[in-house]
């Protein structure tokens, strides 16, 4: 079955520390991959997407993600986290007209 897995339900990091959020997908072929962020009281905002080509993609707010076919992963990274990055992050895969989302990772940033 097609699925997107985010193994970490909740992560806490210190401001200024690096961040990596994990995402694994399970599909027959390479899907198109996305990361969305939902800040408190806000909607889903697109951070970045991977369609093809360079496996390291840059997004907004200083985020990047790396696609690794061998590991079926699309992990999100940021070298230095800011307090405003506290939010919920969703990985998603698109294989047609539907998007399949992971369960989300909630990020807490401590001073």
């Amino acid at each position: 079955a097609q699925s997107v897995t985010q193994p970490d339900i909740h992560i806490t990091v210190s401001e200024g520390a690096s961040l990596e959020l994990r995402c694994n997908y399970s599909y027959g072929a390479t899907p198109y991959l996305f990361w969305y962020v939902q800040s408190p009281g806000q909607g889903l905002q697109l951070l970045l997407k991977y369609f093809s080509g360079d496996t390291l993609v840059q997004g907004i707010k200083g985020f990047e993600a790396e696609f690794k076919r061998s590991q079926s992963s699309f992990n999100l990274r940021k070298p230095s986290v800011h307090w405003s990055d506290a939010a919920e992050y969703f990985c998603a895969a698109n294989t047609g007209n539907q998007f399949y989302f992971g369960t989300g990772t909630s990020l807490t940033v401590i001073p």
Binding site: L44, N97, Q98
Partner: protein, 115 residues
Amino acid sequence: EAGVTQFPSHSVIEKGQTVTLRCDPISGHDNLYWYRRVMGKEIKFLLHFVKESKQDESGMPNNRFLAERTGGTYSTLKVQPAELEDSGVYFCASSQEQGVGNTIYFGEGSWLTVV
């Protein structure tokens, strides 16, 4: 350019009542989607409109949910009668194109609480 807008942003209703959620897509976007996130669960697809036609409604949970998009512009999602398990965030999204690799843009969500 205005994004996807949803109304109401929050709604608290009693079990058995009716609620209607509205979504205005980005202007010019023929494709409109409804998604739902129940607390702690993944965001799940409900249905997809292309203009006024339902392209895919395979995610609609049961016949208490009715979605319409008359005229191919805004859409409504009605829950009647509402049950406790319907509580969650209902996201609307729209896109210009459809198909693999297409980017969809989400609204801020309508937060529904059924008590």
